[in-house]
């Protein structure tokens, strides 16, 4: 029996299990609605390091070690580490993992990296190519500002529709033992809706999320009603509404079970974050801190986790290019008691 169902979705008969997970965030995220859910909140944005980039790397390392601790395995037992981030050459992940002595697969999916890493990790397990893997990613507000816009010292102003890059990391260890399982993976195609405004990422990424979710529903024969919760990574308030509208035009109601991690991680009104959180660390920390825990607690049994990213660079934007989006999705299911 082929494990391919439809054009983009894969069914994983061995249902790789979540053995451990962790989330580490910064001060602002700790002050948000999900504050108590994270494993560690750093009051210091430098994480005790000398630069923002070193801080991001340190945060990723800390999150990774916490996840391995909770999975009760030494990091050296892992068969693969799949990681990526937003910085040039994905240095914060690479430097965080340089001492790990585990085969390292570096990824770039922008804000879709958590779903990409988890998906690929699940495939490695289901294909019997690995017994235990760890997928992780993160982002840092200050490094993202330097990477994509200007260093903070420039003192630039933010527009109402811009999002706030989350300072946070999420790590998930997949293996054979656990009550939560990855059952399906839907890999996304690049979707470019012609949006050029980097201050409006939500509208650039929503079409990609729509494309992947629609493919998932079509391939599996399921609908939003088959899930207890559907999460997108960081479409933000605006992107969340656009996605709902896109589905409504098809006569599909995503329903109240559809939530966006960028809207969950901050109190939009009180914390002054305009359209919400963004960055790899947004959905990664919400997944590692909130969603998986809630599933284990019995809040949700079957969750569709879809992270979307914007595949542009500052250079491409300056050259007048539009912003291509990508969205990867996976299904998490809790074992029946």
């Amino acid at each position: 029996m082929s494990k391919r169902i439809g054009k983009q979705t894969l069914f994983l008969p061995s249902a790789p299990a979540v053995e451990g997970y962790a989330a580490v965030v910064g001060k602002k995220e700790g002050e948000g609605p999900l504050g108590k859910r994270f494993d560690f909140i750093s009051e210091d944005s430098y994480f005790g390091q000398a630069s923002w980039e070193k801080a991001e790397s340190h945060m990723l390392r800390q999150c990774f070690e916490l996840a391995c601790d909770k999975a009760k395995i030494p990091p050296s037992d892992l068969d693969f580490i799949l990681a990526g981030d937003l910085l040039n050459q994905c240095v914060s992940s690479a430097f965080a993992m340089r001492q790990s002595a585990v085969p390292y697969l570096g990824l770039y999916g922008a804000c879709s990296t958590m779903a990409e890493g988890l998906s690929l990790g699940a495939l490695l397990l289901d294909g019997d190519f690995a017994r235990q893997v760890c997928a992780l990613t993160g982002s840092h507000f200050c490094t993202a500002e330097r990477q994509y816009r200007f260093p903070l010292e420039y003192g630039g102003q933010r527009t109402p529709s811009s999002q706030w890059t989350v300072t946070g990391a999420g790590a998930v260890v997949l293996g054979k033992k656990g009550r939560l399982h990855v059952t399906h993976v839907t890999a996304g195609k690049i979707v470019d809706a012609g949006i050029k405004d980097p201050n409006s990422m939500g509208s650039a990424m929503a079409p990609a999320a729509y494309d992947t979710l629609r493919a998932h529903f079509r391939d599996t024969g399921r609908g939003p009603e088959d899930y207890d919760a559907i999460f997108t990574g960081d479409l933000g308030a605006l992107g969340h509404d656009i996605l709902q509208a896109l589905f409504r035009a098809d006569g599909v109601d995503l329903g109240p079970c559809y939530m966006d991690c960028g809207v969950l991680i901050y109190d939009l009104a009180a914390q002054g974050v305009n359209a919400g959180g963004s960055g790899c660390g947004c959905c990664a920390s919400v997944l590692g801190g909130h969603i998986l825990q809630a599933m284990e607690d019995g809040v949700w049994s079957r969750v569709l986790f879809a992270a979307a990213g914007a595949l542009m660079s500052p250079t491409s934007a300056q050259q007048g290019e539009s912003i291509p989006g990508i969205c990867h999705a996976l299904v998490l299911e809790r074992e029946v008691d």
Binding site: G26, K28, S45, W52, F141, L152, E153, T159, N199
Partner: protein
């Protein structure tokens, strides 16, 4: 004197408010707004409209970037009158020299003495 301060803050504030409206309601990037202000200052100066505003509002007109544009234009005009066409290249820098040097110097001092902080 209180009246003088009021004029300064009203005009300076109005110029800043215009910039904020551009940020909030247009897709213009801050960089474009910045250069737009400088060019606006040059144009208004060329039309002879900025000098009276600067006389009336003092720092409220000279501190915002439109004032910088006006200053550049005046410098070029003066240099062209004194040196001919070469003045096109030298005039702006001469007029802005104190401000540019101060910006670089204080920027360096800030970098040496301070550590960048998160925007929390």
């Amino acid at each position: 004197m209180l009246l003088q301060y009021a004029k300064v803050f009203l005009v300076g504030g109005a110029l800043c408010a215009a910039g904020q409206l551009l940020i909030d309601y247009t897709r213009l990037t801050p960089a474009r707004i910045l250069t737009g202000y400088v060019i606006a200052g040059v144009l208004l100066g060329a039309l002879g409209l900025y000098a009276p505003l600067a006389d009336w509002a003092g720092a409220g007109a000279t501190v915002p970037l439109t004032g910088f544009g006006w200053n550049l234009a005046r410098g070029v005009k003066k240099a062209v009158a004194e040196q001919g066409l070469l003045g096109v290249f030298t005039g702006g820098f001469t007029a802005a020299s104190a401000g540019l040097c101060a910006a670089v110097l204080f920027g360096l001092l800030a970098a040496l003495l301070g550590k960048p902080r998160d925007k929390n």
